[in-house]
């Protein structure tokens, strides 16, 4: 097992390298630069700025420099938020995004899972249709529709929660972002769970368990659920990577100081280092969570062996 993990981490290095290379050149080829503002900068100042940040060197040199810095764990300074290095921005923002994302993910897995199981057990009955309808609604109504509606009802009209502030992570401030982040995920998890649970309940070992006269509870929780969890596990990996690195929409609407909002902003402002940093962090999360998924696979399904 340990050897497998080691091997996987080794193969992640070339992947990461390719990702860094592609995105480095992609953002560099894009027209414009970090110091192109609407009111043109004095050319001398601009030249100085470029020299300061090493942007006057040839592109391949900059690329090698960047790789070198990256290997030393240095993401470089942010161009548009000049008082911060990218690492500092992540140190502040990432815990916030992770906190909200993890809560949303756990909420989605629990509620979505339960809904899916209920629907599977009551297949083609009212409860099933209700779950399917909710799940379809949840995955079709965009977050930026749900979020303002949430704000209007619970914050403006009922005045139960603040409209949009972070408030150092007070629980009331977090409900909105967590719920709006979780809703689409709940929908997807419920659908997956329903499908895989129906299939699991049809399998031979469940028929045997029924024939042996096991209680419903033990059949569902001990025998069916285990097999049914596999698709959820493989979905949860990429979903976790996406949720934990912050959602642009939710962080913008609810004014959360996470890292999700940096991405679009940085890409549009050609804040090269910040964009690259975000790409690297997202890629790292994706790789790590995919690895966790594969390990979990072996835990859930003993037939899976990695030796």
């Amino acid at each position: 097992m340990l050897r497998y993990v080691f091997r996987r981490l080794l193969t992640a290095i070339p992947t990461l390298f390719v990702i860094v290379t592609i995105s480095f050149f992609l953002i560099r080829v894009a027209p414009g630069g970090p110091f192109n503002q609407e009111r043109g900068l004095n050319p001398f100042i601009k030249a100085n700025l470029n020299r300061q940040f090493g942007l006057d060197e040839p592109l391949w040199m900059q690329y090698l420099n960047y790789l070198n810095n990256l290997l030393h764990g240095n993401f470089g300074p942010s161009y548009n938020l000049p008082d911060f290095t990218v690492t500092e921005l992540f140190k502040v923002g990432l815990p916030v995004s992770i906190q909200v994302g993890t809560s949303a993910l756990i909420l989605a897995l629990i509620i979505g899972g339960i809904l899916g199981i209920v629907a599977a057990l009551r297949q083609n009955k009212a409860a099933d249709y209700a779950v399917i309808a909710t799940a379809t609604a949840g995955s079709t109504i965009p977050t930026f529709v749900i979020a303002p509606i949430y704000q209007l009802t619970f914050a403006t009209t009922l005045a139960l929660v603040p409209v949009a502030t972070w408030g150092n992570g007070a629980l009331l401030n977090k409900i909105g972002p967590i719920v709006t982040l979780a809703l689409p995920q709940i929908a997807i998890v419920a659908r997956l769970m329903r499908g895989s649970m129906i299939e699991a309940l049809r399998s031979h070992h469940i028929r045997t368990a029924r024939a042996l006269g096991l209680s419903d509870w033990s059949i569902i929780v001990k025998h069916a659920l285990r097999g049914a969890l596999l698709p959820i596990v493989s979905y949860a990996g990429p979903a976790a990577a996406a949720l934990l690195t912050g959602s642009i929409i939710v962080e913008t609407i609810f004014q959360i100081p996470g890292v999700g909002r940096y991405f679009v902003e940085a890409a549009l402002n050609r804040d090269y280092t910040l964009v690259m940093g975000t790409v690297v962090v997202i890629a790292l999360f994706t790789i790590v969570f995919n690895l966790i998924v594969d390990i979990l696979y072996a835990v859930v399904d003993p037939r899976v062996r990695y030796d």
Binding site: T15, V18, I19, I22, S23, L26, I27, A30, P31, G32, T136, A137, S139, T140, I141, P142, F144, V145, A147, P148, I149, Q151, L152, T156, I248, I249, F263, V264, A267, L268, V275, T278, V279, I282, A283, T286, I287
Partner: protein, 372 residues
């Protein structure tokens, strides 16, 4: 002579006919299909029949509430008149309505130019203005004008444009973007996936490795870069978005192609000496069609959501052209004061996505009997 009634030859139902029958039996899917057709027709032809153009601005009707009855409402005539008279730089003395015409008397310390009737004609509320009488000293003027009846079934937006027409125009844009990008993604994905699956071996491995790498690139980064490169040309942009979305399709098609190639009937065909072109045409393509069609119906809503997401960030379709995403993002900003700006476009978008999902599910059930 005896009539021999020729018995009709027994026609076996093809698998496609079977699937069609299953689809027809699925009421939710059939209703959704009907709804989608209706939505497409309304969005494509509707804007030609609505009384307003999607770009026309009515300064008198900014943020007007949706209403089935005609505007102006009786209480609005007075405000509109005050507005017009203020523009004439005169004072409103008196007004009354008679025989469908509004009679206005204005006064001014200076002689009134008769051309002020133009101000009435120019307003969105009045039409056919004419002078009724004028006081001899020219300081008082009575005019009459008809009231323009306007219908704003969905209300108007922040700049006074008819929301009904805009919602339909937006539907045109959103639906065509969905279809366009969906087709591009399917075309690339099928070609790529089928090639990888059909060739197999090292080629397959390399091709799929490329897909894996592209997969771990943050998707939104890709899209933003495309927006940056292609600017605001939305056709080009969504061709590009389609070119990004093909990854899933390629994986699905490759997997299918691999498994179909190993099926006994393909081996049997090979044993019978059918060439690879024939196998491709007779066995692989028809069997791929099912998953491709299903995935396509799920891809179109994805693209529409993606488009609305981009528009929400201000990167999508640009004014005065509009899309459901643009309308919804404007509506979300005005949700406290003018909720219809959010409700109507959101209803159109969500119901379309709903219908597409149901059609997709119905197709899956119809085409993939194993899954039922």
């Amino acid at each position: 002579m005896t009539d021999i009634t020729a018995s009709a030859p027994v026609v076996g139902r093809s698998l496609w006919a079977d699937a069609l029958a299953r689809l027809k039996a699925n009421r939710a899917a059939m209703f959704s299909l009907f709804y989608l057709t209706l939505m497409a027709l309304v969005c494509v032809f509707g804007p030609n029949f609505t009384p307003h153009a999607y770009t026309t601005i009515y300064p008198d009707y900014v943020r007007t509430q949706p209403s089935l009855s005609a505007y102006p409402k009786p209480e609005m005539i007075e405000t509109a008149l005050q507005d017009v008279v203020r523009r004439m730089r005169a004072d409103l003395e008196d007004w009354h309505e008679q025989d469908e015409r509004v009679f206005v008397t204005i006064s001014s310390p200076k002689t009134i130019d008769e051309r002020v009737t133009r101000y009435l004609d120019r307003s969105d509320t009045f039409d056919n203005a004419r002078i009724e009488s004028k006081s001899p000293d020219g300081l008082k003027l009575t005019m009459s004008a008809t009231v323009k009846k306007q219908y704003f079934f969905f209300g108007t937006d922040n700049t006074g444009r008819d929301l009904l027409t805009r919602t339909l125009m937006a539907g045109r844009v959103s639906l065509s973007i969905g279809l366009l990008a969906g087709c591009v993604a399917v075309a690339i994905g099928v070609l790529y996936g089928a090639t990888a699956g059909f060739l197999g071996g090292k080629t397959d491995e390399v091709m799929m490795r490329i897909v894996d790498v592209l997969y771990s690139l943050p998707f939104i980064f890709f899209v933003i870069m495309l927006v940056v490169f292609f600017g605001r040309n939305f056709v080009l942009m969504f061709l590009a978005v389609g070119a990004v979305l093909w990854l899933d399709m390629a994986r699905i098609v490759r997997g299918q192609a691999l498994s179909i190639r190993r099926q006994e009937y393909v081996q049997a065909a090979e044993a019978l000496g059918v060439g690879s072109g024939g196998i491709l045409r007779r066995h692989i393509v028809p069997n791929l069609l099912g998953p491709v069609v299903i995935y396509m119906t799920l891809l179109v809503p994805q693209v529409i959501i993606l488009e609305s997401f981009l528009s929400f960030l201000g990167l999508g379709v640009q004014e005065p052209m509009t899309s459901w995403g643009v309308l919804i993002s404007q509506g979300a900003k005005n949700i406290g004061s003018a909720n219809w700006l959010l409700l109507f476009p959101a209803f159109f978008l969500v119901s379309t996505l709903f219908a597409l999902n149901f059609v997709g599910d119905g197709l899956r059930d119809a085409l993939d009997p194993k899954d039922r």
